[in-house]
Symmetry: C2
Subunit: 354 residues, 2 copies
């Protein structure tokens, strides 16, 4: 799909703590940013129409797909697979599978979305398992980190495939020319990392198509030592959430410091606009939108607790992936990798992929 053309995105209008209101508002914000967008709003149509009554531009860019069913946040993925097909989430994904939309965005149940997306969209040729990727703020800007929880255990092939997908993501969505890639590991010599991580490093080192930096440690994420941080879903999920928790702890310290005395409160008034700039820099809404990479269609997960601005950013990520032909390029990259022989793909598999 061309950069300037129309892009239709299916929205799970009922997923997320503040849905459907924040979905409608988020879509309106995204539409202002990308006038080429069209939406397929999946959910309670009468309710959605009421919310959009005064949003003429948004209404003109929107088609509806009605359903009363919703996947609750607590539903287990295996249950969602059986019972969620007619839910707003399931129908949004089906619209992608049937090419009525180029991507789906949902702020609903992550596990259910992953399971249903995998079943309904399948995997891209050459990729064994999907990865959840997101950007994290760093001293140098932002980096992509993956996998953030799709796979608690990964083999060497998975890690290499994540590296390739993450590198392409950094080029396409973040606009980095030749992104550097690092494998997350621990620092002690001798105990250096797990067998799988070591083996993946050896192969990535040998690959000409990737600028592989080597191992990085936990603090390298925030330092921005590399543009793409690759790890298994267990470690990645814990790293992401540890960073979020630490950030909240610091915000709490800061708030309580400024409330500590009259002088501090006066100081806050003087420094307010500069402090607001930090708030903006560290605003999780700017890093909203975890991508499920490797699927046969584009699915973006917005944070469940996000507001309209965060949801608009998640739509923006989906738009970028579609507009730049992310999935088509992933398929191309994997042909290149097969030639590089870095991912251990057998000749049979290569023939099938080619």
């Amino acid at each position: 799909m061309a950069l300037s053309g129309e892009v239709t995105i299916a929205l799970d209008a009922m997923g997320g703590d503040q849905a459907p209101k924040m979905v409608v508002k988020g879509a309106a914000i995204a539409l202002k940013r990308h006038p080429g967008l069209r939406f397929l709003m999946v959910g309670d149509e009468p309710r959605l129409r009421t919310l959009m009554k005064r949003r003429k531009k948004l209404l003109a860019a929107t088609d509806f797909l009605h359903t009363d069913e919703v996947v609750p946040g607590t539903m287990r993925p295996s249950v969602a697979l059986r019972q969620g097909r007619k839910s707003s989430m399931g129908l949004a994904l089906r619209a992608v599978r049937e090419n009525r939309a180029s991507a789906a965005v949902s702020a609903g149940n992550t596990g259910a979305l992953m399971a249903m997306a995998r079943m309904m969209l399948g995997m891209l040729p050459g990729i064994d398992r999907p990865a959840i990727a997101a950007t994290m703020p760093t001293l140098r800007g932002e980096s992509v980190v993956l996998d953030l929880g799709a796979n608690t255990e990964c083999d060497v092939r998975n890690l290499i495939q994540f590296a390739v997908m993450g590198e392409l993501f950094a080029r396409i969505v973040l606009g980095y020319q030749t992104p550097s890639v690092g494998l997350l590991n621990v620092g002690e010599e001798e105990v250096k990392g797990l067998e799988t991580v070591r083996e993946a490093a050896a192969r990535l080192k040998a690959a000409e198509s990737i600028r592989f930096h080597g191992f990085v440690e936990g603090d390298d994420i925030a330092k921005g030592t590399v543009d793409v941080v690759v790890t298994d879903g267990f470690t990645g999920n814990i790293a992401l959430k540890t960073a979020e928790g630490t950030a909240k702890l610091y915000s709490h310290y800061l708030r309580s410091a400024f409330g500590r005395s009259l002088l501090a409160r006066i100081g806050y008034l003087f420094a307010r606009s500069s402090l607001k700039a930090i708030q903006k820099q560290t605003d999780p809404r700017h890093h909203n939108g975890a991508m499920f990479l490797g699927l046969g269609g584009i699915a973006v997960k917005s944070h469940g607790g996000t507001d309209a601005l965060g949801f608009a950013n998640a739509i923006g990520v989906a738009y970028d992936l579609v507009a730049h032909g992310f999935n088509e390029r992933i398929i191309g990259e994997f042909k290149r990798i097969a030639a590089d022989r870095i991912d251990g793909t057998s000749d049979q598999q290569k023939a099938a992929t080619a």
Copy 2:
């Protein structure tokens, strides 16, 4: 050893970026806090004596053990095991083994210290592997996290042993009456964690001697959801360093916010004393001292880049562990656990431990 009695601690006087100066200064600070302390300073005696010339009280509390040899920060643990026996680190550990000191503290090479400590001090009965533990700041105060890198892969028994050691540490060093224990895991249902973590959770749940909270996620560390966070050394190391990196990123944002405009700089002047309080709260020197738990003697690792205050805190941690008979109590706990049958110890092993 009684709380009020004399405690001798062997100091690797040559380990750490600012050694031996910060070791001497750190020892002086620690001595003020704990007048019952005695030191065995291991290192370049003439140089140490020159540094201590005017510190009469410290001199009176210090014995020297001279050596010219030092374990460099880059030496591999396996090399240190062969070549480091007569180094300041090796001799400090030997003093613990030979009961000339009750604990060793070093700011030197972590991997070397771990390898040598394990070889020279052996393991406590009932414990298969040592764990590195440290405290991390939380919204509620501080929590113990372990393992932070001694074991990249852990089995169920290891995790349970870490839980028991961490719980005791929280009681003894942090003074919590009945500390709660959580196992670090990822949040998605269905993909919930690795087999090992699930199995360890089942056994901890069944154990009467431990207040087991269940699974916790990465952001629960900073929230202080539990007092003791148990995980394998790979994940723990990455969580710790991710938190450190995020904290530095926030300090950087804050500094640059206050430098952004004249108003902001004026604001800083007003709020300075309150902001210094944050600095103190988040000062890594207050959380200095990673303990090697499970060894047949007490060894504490100070951060290599620490200054005198941080080193004094590491000495303080060693003092607490000795004064409260940590290792003796660990042995007692493991007898209790064997009765609880939570760690999968065989009857033979139980007989040997009893």
